[in-house]
């Protein structure tokens, strides 16, 4: 790393705070349409973090699949159930406070663990290329790859079959 690294990490931290902020808005805002927009920002921010982690291919996939496809689906679903987004109806249930308590509990357990754990970091960080990834997918991981493809296909057919109105 050169002397430019601090600047990069500043950008990274900014990105992390953006992601966190957008995620908080996503889960807490009453208007589901806006929640979806903030979810898009969260996902874009995560894609940005992937870039900084030198996982370019994953970043592109994140944008292509999450932002391009899943977000479109979500916004469509929000739109199709538009009557459910009445601002007068409460969007959160009674588990708000219990949920928060659970959250605090889990973080109280997890964060010290993270801090205490003896992470053995590498001297030179790993990086890989899309070509290596492709080889891995087609070599070592070809079986899971095919399974996932099958799952995706089944899910697609299932989604179409489920969402169709019976005629």
């Amino acid at each position: 790393m050169n002397s430019f690294a601090p600047l990069v990490s500043v950008v990274q931290y900014v990105l992390m705070f953006i992601v966190l902020g957008a995620a908080i808005v996503t889960v807490s805002i009453g208007n589901l349409f806006r929640a979806a927009i903030f979810l898009a920002f969260t996902l874009l921010g995560v894609a940005g973090l992937y870039f900084f982690l030198h996982a370019d291919f994953i970043a592109a996939m994140q944008i292509l699949i999450y932002v391009g496809a899943i977000m479109t689906l979500v916004i469509f679903a929000v739109m199709l159930t538009g009557k459910m987004q009445d601002p007068l109806v409460a969007q959160s249930n009674r588990q708000k406070i219990p949920a928060f308590i659970i959250l605090c509990g889990v973080s109280a357990f997890l964060i010290p663990t993270i801090l205490k754990a003896p992470w053995r970091t590498l001297a030179t960080p790993h990086a890989t290329t899309a070509a290596n990834l492709g080889r891995a997918l087609m070599g070592e991981f070809v079986f899971p790859f095919e399974i996932v493809s099958l799952v995706l296909l089944v899910a697609l057919i299932g989604a179409i079959a489920t969402a169709r109105s019976d005629e």
């Binding site: 806006r34 927009i37 898009a40 291919f57 944008i63 292509l64 932002v67 391009g68 899309a130």
Partner: protein, 380 residues
């Protein structure tokens, strides 16, 4: 000449390096690239509007703008001033936040994709290893902002335009991605720079059988992705007023417009990069070659606009799914064959495959195709 801008930047950096720390020099380097793109994008867009109006005007036997400045050269500025001073109207029922956000957010990917366009030798802002994928991914995000704009406007025409836009862009993304795959197979890299390097010495991919088909596919789907005639259904003014930007005025509308034009420029630039050899070309400097090629493609887009009526929704979808998609798949096969065989044979084989593919698709789509009619006259 070829390295004019590169050398310019380089000498600035060396000059700055004399008295600034290293990180500041890198920062300056980034800033120079970002500023160049941030200036180049909007200026290109402004003058593309003028170019389009002049070109289409001449096609239609009229002058086009010629009042503001010599040959109307100041017209874009006048338009900009007008846009800025126009009243910004937000419909009463609109989702103000999303209504504001959509036009702003749509410009960002349009500007970001400039980063991977290789304007010339060493003239790419970031040589990403996934350049093409980056471009495809970012251009796919445009969809949701268009849809957000449509939904936030609370207008039925906007909504129809938004729905059309999503359906169209999602459908055309698939043949678009598939039409680039042959090039990726042959080059073995996503990097735009590597793709251009692979086409040096007149080895333009468009000159191969699969490349020709891929070029046409990529260009057509690109035209569809940026919502231009004959695929401009999301804003089809004769049916749904102005589609997703019906309720936008002033600068917000200008931002949509800007995104559309910058996208059409980047699409042209990427198409020329992937299939037309990018900045490769004799005599002239590389960046000029890229500009010539992209502007030629943009002129073809404008030529489409001046000539063609638009598709209907179902025909648009049918065209994407029944023709472009299978053709793109068969084209990948043709490229594979091209790779597998030696030089003279592979041209022949892939040409045969491509011709066969076109032939099959033509006959498969025949029932849906319009037919010529013969007219008769009433007997006296």
């Amino acid at each position: 000449m070829d390295q004019l801008f590169v050398n310019l930047k380089h000498s600035i950096l060396i000059f700055a390096g004399n008295f600034l720390p290293e990180w500041a020099v890198i920062l300056i380097s980034i800033l120079i690239s970002v500023t160049a793109i941030a200036v180049f994008g909007p200026v290109t867009m402004m003058y593309l509007t003028l170019l389009e109006r002049k070109f289409v005007g001449r096609i239609q036997n009229r002058f086009g703008p010629n009042r503001v400045g010599k040959w109307g050269l100041l017209q874009p500025l006048a338009d900009g001033v007008k846009m800025l001073t126009k009243e910004d109207i937000v419909p009463k029922g609109a989702d103000h936040f999303a209504h504001f956000l959509a036009p702003v957010a749509i410009v960002i990917p349009a500007l970001l994709v400039f980063a991977v366009v290789p304007f010339g030798r060493n003239m790419v802002a970031v040589d990403l290893s996934i350049g093409i994928l980056f471009f495809l991914a970012l251009s796919s995000t445009t969809t949701i902002w268009i849809f957000v704009a449509a939904w936030a406007s609370r207008n039925k025409f906007s909504l129809l335009g938004g729905l059309r836009s999503v359906a169209q862009m999602v459908s055309y993304e698939i043949p678009m991605v598939l039409s680039v795959v042959p090039v990726l197979m042959v080059v073995g890299s996503f990097s735009t720079v590597a793709i251009v390097e692979a086409q040096s010495g007149w080895n333009w991919f468009v000159l191969t059988p699969w490349g020709l088909i891929g070029f046409v596919l990529f260009f057509l789907t690109g035209v569809a992705e940026v919502n231009r005639t004959p695929f401009d259904l999301p804003e089809g003014e004769s049916e749904i007023v102005a589609g997703f930007h019906t309720e936008y005025s002033g600068m917000k509308f200008a931002l949509f417009y800007m995104a559309e034009f910058m996208n059409s420029f980047t699409i042209s630039a990427i198409v020329s990069t992937v299939y037309l050899g990018g900045w490769q070309g004799p005599w002239l400097p590389g960046w000029l070659w890229l500009l010539i090629k992209s502007y030629a493609l943009i002129l073809v887009m404008m030529w489409f606009r001046g000539t063609l009526p638009r598709f209907r929704v179902d025909q648009l979808m049918g065209f994407a799914w029944k023709f472009l998609l299978p053709l793109a798949l068969l084209n990948i096969f043709a490229a594979g064959v091209w790779l597998a065989f030696a030089r003279p044979v592979n041209y022949l084989l892939s040409a045969i495959i491509v011709a066969l593919a076109l032939f099959i698709l033509y006959f498969a789509n025949r029932p849906d195709m319009p037919k010529k009619r013969v007219y008769r006259y009433a007997v006296e």
